[in-house]
Every structure is written in structure tokens, then in C-alpha cells.
């Protein structure tokens, strides 16, 4: 290594380490997560491409000009769920493979920050996915314009995304510490995601009936909200233990 020169003055730390607040830590982690994704483009493009490809396959496999009601809602939610699993599987890979876990555990920070930051990261990935997938779904599979259904659809997607982000983060943290992480993530996650798919699909099904679209089913939106809350609390309580040796 030629051309390396020692610094002219001895190195002294300018200030000691200090405890960092939860939300500042979340901010630092979130920033890092988004930067890594922007550099690698490993998750969001794969998720979006998977969703669009699946809609194309459905478009030809069903051999129908359009779908509506339960079928449409089911296709949308199942496709989004499987696309989300691609992101869930990648969520902690860089941390596990490149020592990010250890570095984080050495720092004097609240460990819950990692759970919050990872869940927010996954949530952001899901939002971008849906910005691509929902228009593609409308174009390829829906007969009627999506406009009137949009507010109800957004409410259902928001509640469903929250649940997927929370449960996906919990499951990904468990799976990444095992050798069979690519298999274990979906295996652990799918049973927990099923209620979200059921709730999400039932909530938007009335919106997607072409003849007489109705309001989203409030009962299912409420169910989704409660499910999110319960799993949010469980994940928040468990996450510290998952990071422990």
C-alpha cells in the first residue's frame, strides 16, 4: 500500500459516546436501510416485477376480460402477499451477512429501534410495490375504473400493509438467524399472514363489484386494525429477545 501517510496529529476523540434517543436511532437505521436498497435495488424491483408478472399470468390463465368482487379482491391480496414475502426474506440479510446485527448490538441504543426501523422500511417497500401493482392490476384485470373504489382500497391496503410489515419484521428476524432462512420465513409467516389476506380481501370485495359497488366492509377493516394492534404489541415485546444470543 503505497502513498499511505500517518496523520500529522495524534488522534483523540472529540467527544465521548452518549445515549441516543429511540427516534434518532430509528432515523439512523431507516436512512441506512433506504440507502442500501437504493444502492442494491434488491427488494422493491423484485417485488414489483413479481406482482406485475403474476397479474399478467392471471390475465391469460383465467381467460376472461375482467374479474370482479371476491375473485378480484383475492387475486390482488394474494399477489401482494407473495410479493411482500420476497421483501420479508431480504429484510435482515445484509445485517446478518455483513455484521450489522453485531454492530447494532454493541451500540448504546434501544433495541426496539431496529424493530421500528425495519417495519417502517418494509412498509415503505410495500407502498412502492402497490404504487406499481395496483395500477397494473386495474389495467390487466379490472373491467371498471378503479377511481370510485380508491379510498376504500387505500384504507384496506394501509391496514393490511401495517400488519404485513409488523409480522414480516418479526418473522424475518427469527428466520435470518437460521440456515434455512429462505424457507423458514415464508413457512413461519404464511399462517400469520392469512388473516390479513382474508380481512383485506373481504374488506375490498364489495368495492370491486362492477354492477353495484358498495362501501368497504367496515367489520373487516376493524378486524385488520385489531390484528395489527395485537401483533404490533407482540412483536414489540418479543423483538429484543430475538436479538439476544
Amino acid at each position: 500500500m503505497s502513498g499511505v501517510q500517518a496523520p500529522e496529529r495524534p488522534l483523540q476523540a472529540t467527544r465521548p459516546a452518549q445515549a441516543v434517543g429511540l427516534w434518532r436511532t430509528v432515523g439512523a437505521l431507516l436512512r441506512k436501510e433506504l440507502l442500501v436498497e437504493l444502492r442494491t435495488l434488491e427488494s422493491v424491483p423484485a417485488m414489483s416485477l413479481f406482482a406485475v408478472t403474476t397479474f399478467v399470468v392471471f390475465h391469460f390463465a383465467l381467460n376472461r376480460n375482467s374479474v370482479e368482487g371476491d375473485l378480484a379482491a383475492g387475486i390482488l391480496w394474494v399477489t401482494l402477499l407473495f410479493a411482500a414475502i420476497l421483501g420479508v426474506n431480504r429484510l435482515f440479510v445484509a445485517d446478518a451477512d455483513q455484521g450489522g446485527f453485531d454492530a447494532f448490538l454493541l451500540a448504546p441504543v434501544d433495541r426496539s429501534a431496529m424493530f421500528i426501523a425495519k417495519a417502517l422500511t418494509l412498509l415503505a417497500f410495500l407502498v412502492v410495490l402497490e404504487l406499481v401493482a395496483v395500477p397494473a392490476f386495474a389495467l390487466l384485470l379490472l373491467g371498471a375504473p378503479l377511481g370510485p373504489a380508491l379510498p376504500g382500497l387505500l384504507a384496506s391496503l394501509a391496514l393490511g400493509d401495517l400488519g404485513v410489515a409488523v409480522i414480516g419484521t418479526l418473522v424475518a428476524a427469527m428466520a435470518v438467524q437460521t440456515r434455512a432462512r429462505d424457507l423458514l420465513g415464508p413457512l413461519l409467516g404464511l399462517p400469520l399472514f392469512v388473516p390479513i389476506v382474508i380481512g383485506g380481501a373481504r374488506a375490498i370485495s364489495p368495492l370491486l363489484v362492477q354492477a353495484h359497488p358498495a362501501a368497504p366492509a367496515a367489520r373487516w377493516l376493524l378486524t385488520l386494525g385489531l390484528y395489527d394492534l395485537v401483533f404490533g404489541l407482540i412483536a414489540y415485546a418479543l423483538f429484543d429477545f430475538l436479538l439476544e444470543d
Binding site: A13, R15, L105
Partner: protein, 231 residues
């Protein structure tokens, strides 16, 4: 006699059926340097990871900087710097981005990041992703990461691996004896280099198959005893 920075009594740690560390006891005063020798798989890295609070001891008692592990591990975090086999850096981020990220976790300002990039002669390459840098350059950034928060206890696992002689000289002010703001900085170094290791050590620990085979003041240890650990 200074207060003990490390007090380890009967430490054991296993992975499944295999004992990685067995009945290790030692004491190290603040400001001293412990150098750990031993062949591959002797338990050196496991010892460092226990002291860093990353692994729980399975038996025995461990006190690091006055805090009992694992119960008071929270009191140690932020006071320990670890330079292990892995650089603990993200390959897709640049050296500057990596150090900024760690600085934020420790509540440290940008000035320290600039200072350390300069210290490890990486300012000119600080905007390139780590995956494009040589191993030696990544190791220099890893050294900067380990001392970013001026830790009271430095845990160094073969710190000179991948570094050429010029780079070893370069990082000496950061991880050498007397580095840091606190003249009593304590160090634990895993090494395979008897000459360099003995020159740094106040106390020498030799491990063989997870068990202590040698524990003595460095002045009382000769090269042959260290060579014997590897036979």
C-alpha cells in the same frame, strides 16, 4: 494497583455439544493489555464476543468495566470497541456513509468521522462503496469504526490482518497502547504473532481447545511457551 477492567472466573461457553471455552479465569487492570494466543478454534474469538456482550457466558462469572454480564450488559455497551474478523460494515455503503451511520448510533458528530477518515488515510476513497475497496482498505475503515466512540475497552481480533506494514503503522495511533483520550484504555488482543503480541502485552493468556494453557505476566513469558501452544 488499578481497578480491574476485566474479572473472569470459571467462564465456560459451548456451541451445542462442543465446548468453545472451558473454565477460563483472569483479571486485568484498567489500562493493561491482555494478549490472547492460541491455534485456530482455541476459543479466542468466543472470548472476545463474550467480553463484548455479544455472547452469553454459559457458566462462571464475567465482569467487564465493573458490570456483571449478561445482567448488566446494557451498562457496557457503548464503552467497548470491537474489531473482529468481520468489519461490521455494509458493503454497499461508502466508508463515509458507514462511519456516519455508526456515529449516529453513538451520538457522535460529523467532525469525528472526518478526523478518522483522515487518520486511516481513506478520505480520498471515502465516497466509494466498500465492495470496491481492497481488504486492507476495508480493515482500515473497520479500525476507524471500532474506535469511533473512543471506547474504554478495545477488543481486537487479529487487528493487523490484511494490513501491510505502512497501514499497521497508520492505525497504531488509534489502537496501539496509549491510544484514545483515556490513558487507561484497556485492550484485549487476539494474536498469532509472538513477537508483536508480547511487545504489546502486559498479561498473556494462552488458550488450547478452549482451556487456559498459559496465564502469566508478559515479562515472564518467552517465545517458546507461545510456540508450544500451537504444537
Amino acid at each position: 494497583m488499578s481497578a480491574a477492567a476485566l474479572e473472569v472466573e470459571g467462564l465456560s461457553r459451548h456451541y451445542g455439544e462442543r465446548d468453545a471455552l472451558s473454565d477460563v479465569s483472569l483479571s486485568l487492570a484498567a489500562g493493561q493489555t491482555l494478549v490472547v494466543f492460541g491455534p485456530n478454534g482455541a476459543g479466542k474469538t468466543t472470548l472476545l464476543r463474550v467480553l463484548a456482550t455479544l455472547l452469553r457466558p454459559h457458566a462462571g462469572s464475567v465482569r467487564v468495566l465493573g458490570a456483571s454480564l449478561p445482567g448488566e450488559a446494557w451498562a457496557v455497551r457503548g464503552r467497548v470497541g470491537l474489531l473482529g474478523h468481520e468489519p461490521l460494515l455494509y458493503r454497499e455503503l461508502t466508508a463515509r456513509e458507514n462511519l456516519r451511520f455508526h456515529a449516529r448510533l453513538y451520538g457522535i458528530g460529523e467532525e469525528r468521522v472526518r478526523e478518522l477518515l483522515d487518520a486511516v488515510a481513506m478520505t480520498g476513497r471515502a465516497s466509494e462503496p466498500l465492495r470496491t475497496l481492497s481488504r486492507g482498505m476495508v480493515q482500515r475503515v473497520a479500525v476507524a469504526r471500532a474506535v469511533l466512540h473512543d471506547p474504554e475497552l478495545l477488543l481486537l481480533d487479529e487487528p493487523h490482518s490484511n494490513l501491510d506494514p505502512a497501514a499497521i503503522e497508520l492505525v497504531a495511533p488509534l489502537i496501539g497502547a496509549g491510544a484514545g483520550t483515556d490513558p487507561r484504555r484497556t485492550r484485549v488482543i487476539c494474536s498469532h504473532d509472538p513477537t508483536g503480541g508480547l511487545a504489546e502485552a502486559d498479561v498473556v493468556l494462552g488458550l488450547r481447545a478452549g482451556r487456559p494453557a498459559l496465564l502469566r505476566a508478559a515479562v515472564d513469558v518467552d517465545h517458546d511457551e507461545i510456540a508450544e501452544l500451537y504444537r
